[in-house]
């Protein structure tokens, strides 16, 4: 059953791959602005037909993100004075700062419980809006990088405002609207009810609450965001009421990151290059999903053996297999939504979720972020291959010279540095250690997971960790911001320097980048780089727990 579930997802994604990929290609390359967009640009005061150099593109992106952080922070701090407050007080300052960064960076790490902290207005006008636009920003950066490969002798890489608005309004909004109604049909709630009490069959009082959940749930998955309306996220029956809504949510998570490889192939004029990138993502993703299923179904640890199945932290309607598939999908992308609690997974099942994030979330990764991350790995791969045969490496006709490889390497180094330094600092001080719920290697895994998740902008957690403290809110907030914006700056700089080049003609020494050989090389480079970086840390956590 669990395998049919995975296969059906693969088939469904294959069916929508071409139409959605081609649609996004038209969205990002079309010259016409529709009426709504023209009004929007006028309101923004930007000229949509003026292209930007990479530095201007980056400045616009950063300005938008900074203003977004301030706006989300302000709405949380003022929520008690605004509509739909539900009587909740303002969000505490350090949690508000952490949450603002978290949602603007597409991380959606949650240091709070949605149902008793955030007003309905905060959820829909602050958090859900960032679900859309942070996803659109990721897509914009990916498209800008692809333009770098596709253009010849160009100083510019597009217009940030146009990419932002088109991604939000033309791609995400229509899919979200239809998807929200599908979820409502499945039982997800969409109302403005606040907390109230009902009487149970046995005469006790049960606290219940509602909210505009479906409209937020759909973009939470589609934009690979992951911030749940409620504390228990996609395990909550109001967010994910049945086994088929669970299927649909996984489908939404993978939809855009997968289809963007088609958009990439179209934009560089060689569909087979897109297929090669898709193949790399597919090989890693399927291997990871299968392994996670195998480990969880085997239930190889003391408590799952005592129970008879790894059912702790999992809901009956999903079962073990579909929970494992969701867990793999959410960490292979930068989503971080959960339908089951990774902290209670078997040691190796939990390790897979960690390892998926450590891969840099490139298979298929977050919306946009997955594609640009994977293209960076492809650049590193042609460089490694070039070293082997002693030729100047090139990718898609662009020479990978010293500037390009420096930017790619810097990109790669940012998140491991944040993860490992962050974990080390946390393990070295009282405030950091105090967060552990579990003891021994599992406690270390909780801390490692937190920094891995924040720095890679995933947002899921080994949830036992107590992170709503000022120390963690600040530390993880910094990891999220640096882990998002430093790589983006390097990617845009790379896009700028690639766009300026005129393509070199293919020669006998050019490594073909659309064949299985190249796919194998990229998979190898990805796994080896990550294994070398993180194996010692994994050995102290899940591996120690699983083997002894």
């Amino acid at each position: 059953m669990g395998w049919t579930f995975i296969l059906s997802l693969v088939v469904a994604l294959a069916v929508v791959y071409k139409p959605l990929g081609d649609f996004m290609h038209r969205v990002y390359t079309g010259g016409r602005h529709n009426a709504v967009e023209r009004v929007t640009y006028r309101l923004l005061g930007v000229r949509p037909d003026t292209e930007q150099r990479w530095s201007a593109y980056a400045r616009s992106l950063l300005a938008f993100s900074v203003v977004s952080i301030l706006f989300v922070y302000a709405l949380q701090r003022l929520q008690d004075k605004l509509w739909l407050s539900l009587g909740f007080p303002p969000v505490t300052d350090h949690i508000a700062w952490n949450t603002a960064i978290s949602f603007v960076t597409n991380t959606n790490w949650q240091a709070y419980s949605g149902e008793n902290t955030m007003s309905h207005l905060t959820q829909m006008a602050a958090l859900a809006v960032q679900n859309f636009v942070s996803a659109a920003v990721g897509m914009a950066v990916a498209i800008a990088l692809v333009r770098g490969f596709a253009r010849r002798g160009s100083d510019t890489i597009g217009n940030f405002w146009v990419d932002l608005v088109r991604g939000s309004l033309r791609v995400l909004l229509p899919i979200a609207f239809v998807g929200a109604l599908v979820l409502v049909a499945g039982g997800v709630v969409q109302n403005f009810a606040g907390p109230h009490d009902i009487t149970t069959l046995t005469g006790n009082v049960q606290h219940v609450t509602g909210g505009p959940v479906a409209s937020q749930e759909v973009i939470k998955e589609l934009g690979t965001n992951g911030g749940g309306f409620y504390n228990t996220n996609s395990a909550h029956p109001y967010e994910n009421p049945s086994a088929w809504t669970n299927w649909f949510e996984i489908f939404l998570i993978l939809l855009i990151p997968i289809a963007l490889t088609r958009t990439f192939g179209r934009m560089v004029g060689q569909l087979r290059q897109g297929y090669a990138i898709l193949a790399v993502m597919g090989v890693i993703a399927i291997a990871s999903v299968v392994l996670t299923n195998v480990f969880e179904l085997a239930g190889d640890a003391t408590v799952p053996q005592a129970v008879g199945a790894a059912m702790e932290g999992k809901d009956v309607r999903f079962g073990v297999a579909n929970s494992a598939t969701f867990a793999a999908a959410t960490t292979l992308t930068s989503t971080g939504a959960v339908n089951s609690f990774h902290d209670s997974f078997t040691p190796f099942g939990g390790m897979m979720t960690l390892f998926n994030m450590m891969l840099g979330e490139v298979a298929p990764g977050g919306v946009g972020a997955g594609l640009y991350g994977m293209l960076i790995l492809a650049v590193i791969t042609v460089f490694v291959a070039g070293l082997m045969v002693g030729r100047t490496p090139e990718y898609l006709g662009k020479k990978i010279g010293s500037r390009e490889i420096k930017l790619a390497s810097l990109y790669f180094l940012v998140t491991p540095a944040l993860v490992l330094i962050g974990t080390a600092v946390a393990m070295g001080n009282e405030a950091g250690l105090a967060a552990m719920l579990n003891s021994g290697p599992h406690g270390f895994s909780e801390i490692l997971y937190a920094f891995t998740s924040a720095s890679n902008n995933n947002g899921s957690a080994f949830g036992g960790v107590t992170v709503n403290t000022p120390w963690y809110d600040v530390a993880l907030g910094l990891c999220m911001a640096l882990g998002r914006f430093l790589p983006i700056i390097f990617v845009l700089a790379l896009a700028g320097s690639l766009a300026r080049q005129t393509p070199v003609p293919e020669s006998a020494g050019t490594l073909p980048t659309h064949r299985p050989q190249f796919v194998g090389l990229v998979v190898g480079v990805t796994i080896v780089l990550v294994a070398l970086t993180f194996l010692p840390a994994l050995a102290l956590g899940p591996i120690a727990e699983g083997l002894f």
Partner: protein
């Protein structure tokens, strides 16, 4: 506008972008979705699980019982336990996940008049775990850490060493943790002894429902067959035959029983 320095223009555009996009995506979109959704679909009242206990938290025997919940079925404090798969040693502040599982198994066994025994559990319902000293090499001392004195340890000896009962407050961290499987096979199903992810799980497994059927039938003076038929009627199968797992909606089942 054009005369302002470019960095100010940039941030003004950003501010306007945030406001415009908030109006569209943060206000118009959720309101439109709400309007259409409420016109087209009815809300399903049976989605959220309840606990069927009395005011003191004891199970009410005429009702099917839901799964354990780390949230106590409170929708304003949803949570999972987040305890790890090797959380097997009780501490003064916290009961280990293994002991929670063992204790639930014994309690369910008692309620349903079946064996509550499980692998890795003692007969008194705690985790069957030894701390063995020294951590490496031939054991010289073994303590059943989850069984506080004067309890009788679940095994008398471990590799020739007499097993002691645990003394609360003593630090056993230096020892090697050795869970002992024992020979038991579990009768009580997995979902009955584990807390759900949502803390609001509306379902139990078919096996757990069938385990409870004789007790509910007896309490209500109904034939067991009739109760089993109701279980079947409130079992959600796998959508399309391959998604998720079958489950019995406990609230709907109990409501149907109350209606007679």
């Amino acid at each position: 506008m054009e005369r302002l320095p470019s960095w100010i223009r940039q941030h003004l555009a950003a501010l306007r972008a945030v406001l415009v996009l908030t109006a569209v995506l943060g206000v118009a979109y959720p309101l439109a979705t709400t309007g259409v959704a409420q016109a087209l679909f009815d809300e399903n009242p049976g989605l959220i699980g309840q606990s069927f206990t009395d005011a003191d938290g004891n199970p009410v025997a005429k009702y099917f019982q839901s799964r354990p919940s780390a949230a106590g079925y409170d929708m304003l404090a949803t949570a999972a336990s987040n305890l790890g798969p090797e959380d097997v040693v009780d501490t003064p502040d916290r009961t280990s996940l293994l002991t929670q599982v063992c204790a639930r198994s014994v309690a369910v066994g008692r309620l349903e008049s079946v064996s509550g025994a499980r692998p890795y559990c003692t007969s008194d319902g705690v985790g069957a775990v030894l701390k063995v000293f020294p951590a490496l090499g031939k054991p010289t001392r073994a303590v059943s850490v989850n069984q506080a004195c004067p309890a009788r340890p679940f095994v008398a000896t471990y590799q020739g060493v007499a097993v002691e009962c645990g003394k609360p407050g003593e630090d056993y961290a230096a020892g090697r943790t050795v869970p002992i499987r024992g020979g038991a096979t579990a009768v009580v199903p997995a979902d009955a002894v584990t807390a759900s992810g949502s803390g609001l799980d509306p379902h139990i497994s078919v096996a757990y429902a069938e385990l409870q059927a004789p007790r509910v039938a007896r309490e209500r003076g109904l034939p067991v067959d009739q109760v089993n038929t109701l279980i079947e009627q409130h079992t959600t199968g796998r959508p399309l035959g391959f998604m998720g797992e079958p489950g019995v909606n406990v609230l709907e089942l109990n409501t149907a029983l109350d209606k007679g």
